[in-house]
Point group: none
Chain length 192, copies 4
């Protein structure tokens, strides 16, 4: 039993590595299963025995990332709202390759979505005690925050990878908390 498990584990590891490597090279959408199993040196049926498809493998492969990210963010609950965002940007900085590959092309929605799902958990927790005041339902606010986070992430990795995480994080916090409102030209201020 153990040996079989060990074998299975090796197979899974090989597939994860292959996916990572290929995604980094050519983006998630462009990776075909044939390439994947060839790179991992694994039979086709073996792949399907372990995963339901490319997406499943991706999700599973993200478990590590997710765990790591979750671990780092778990303790960060303090007075500062969305404190975890800083952690996330720093995490991304440490794994530029894979993050960049995933956010790179618009085709990688699934990959981006996966990041979003992880973040959603945290945002939801943080916003769980707020009310639907201001006429904006909580779910909308959650999606708004996550969207903004991912937006920043994408822009950062794609256009200004040189910026330090702290700076991007500052932008995120500014936008998420205060919007773009008070940076509009004076004449156009909305009367509140």
């Amino acid at each position: 039993m153990q040996k079989i498990d060990r074998r299975a584990a090796r197979t899974r590891t090989a597939l994860h590595k292959a996916l990572l490597s290929l995604v980094e090279r050519k983006g998630y959408e462009e990776v075909s299963i044939r390439e994947l199993i060839e790179e991992a040196d694994v039979g086709r049926s073996t792949f399907y025995a372990h995963y339901a498809g490319k997406e499943d493998l991706l999700r599973s492969g993200f478990d590590n990332l997710r765990r790591e990210l979750a671990e780092a963010m778990k303790e960060e609950q303090g007075a500062v709202p969305f404190r975890f965002s800083r952690t996330m940007f720093e995490h991304a900085a440490r794994h530029v390759g894979i993050y960049h590959a995933m956010t790179g092309s618009p085709g990688n929605v699934i990959a981006i979505g996966e990041i979003g799902r992880i973040l959603t958990e945290f945002v939801r927790r943080e916003l769980s005690e707020t009310e639907d005041d201001g006429g904006v339902p909580r779910e909308v606010r959650i999606q708004f925050v996550v969207g903004t986070l991912v937006n920043l992430l994408t822009w950062w990795l794609e256009r200004r990878p040189d910026l330090p995480p702290a700076e991007v994080d500052a932008m995120f916090r500014r936008l998420a908390l205060h919007g773009t409102g008070d940076i509009l030209p004076t004449g156009m201020r909305e009367n509140r």
Copy 2:
């Protein structure tokens, strides 16, 4: 010349209609070219003579939408920031079918991206005179606004299609201009 154009126009119209109809039925990604030309009753080579592929057809098909939207938004320049958003939501309400189909599945990135591209033009114009104050580059702010807009749009059509455009627009404006900041629980307010 005109008559040839007229013939070509008929073909293109047939293809656009077919795409719309099929996208509404099963989502953009799921539509195959075979289905498309069958629905449009057009030869395969004819399709490729007019468009480079499915994506090209989509983009071209959006030209109407874009024009319509642009037309509607063009005049809306007033004191209210992002006035066009209201127009957009109302436009979406009038074409629920196609908007919903496009935002429905995560697979429809291309379609969503197309909407985003249209909106970006307008947001950019409106933000063109602002400065990079607050440490947030203009491009980031543009992307942030568009992202928020699309986010709301998706959420609306997917979860609360019953809401009137005005209400969704209010949410959008609130979030884009002021963020989620002042709706956080008192204890967590960030000190500015």
Copy 3:
């Protein structure tokens, strides 16, 4: 390994049968690959996994014929020149369907050429010890004999399928060995 081979063999057999059947029905050139795989109930990619194209399949399908023919002709070495021709005509008589289909239309050059290639081997062997006397190079004589053989075969199957192989063979031998010379009207004899 064997069982995989067995599966592959079944596929190949199905394709051979389909080709034979279709060629008999409508001639080699008219058979499309779509028909072929439909008739054989085989996937398109499977076909291309086994054969490079229609021609390759044909050639491969001929291996049996070739083997059979070769087998029959192998032992026929005696004092009679071109003894194998009789064997060939008899073989054709036994497989009228496929032979007729192949020689039927002028489009079936490839099929006819395949027969020619088989025959060439035997003719070459038989003429291998002769010299280029009479000013006619050996290769020319080989091609001449094979051509005559194929010519007769075509004529027989197309115009007089009722004739017994022996009679056609007699004609072939007469023409190949002595030409049409001494059956010319007396007045036109060439002075040698």
Copy 4:
């Protein structure tokens, strides 16, 4: 009427020239109609207005060749059998390009067949007075002679274009009139 004909004639000439030129360059089978009309600078529909297809054009284009060949052979009736063969080989020598292109690949059956049809007329005329003696029907003899002629032609142009027409003609005459019989090794002579 005449001028219209003159215009039509120009079109036909252009197409013939184009066909000749293209066939010489890449062989009959490889020439597509698109290339043809492009080379001739003629509209697609115009082509189909004049000819039913590539084959029809070829046949028509051969009319000149045929006429020329026929002209040359017409007078050559003398005591020597198959006197016209010499004329044909010489004619071929004078038009090596097109002859070679046509006999080059096995795909050019149609072109070769066209030559055969011309020759058949002459052979038939010459053999018209002979009887079916020797058990070889006249039609078979005709086909045999034509086949041999074409065989030689092909071999000549393909393998030994350096040989003078006279020599090839001698081979042809030897083979057609006397076969390969008496050049067999002594031990294998058939007893007549």
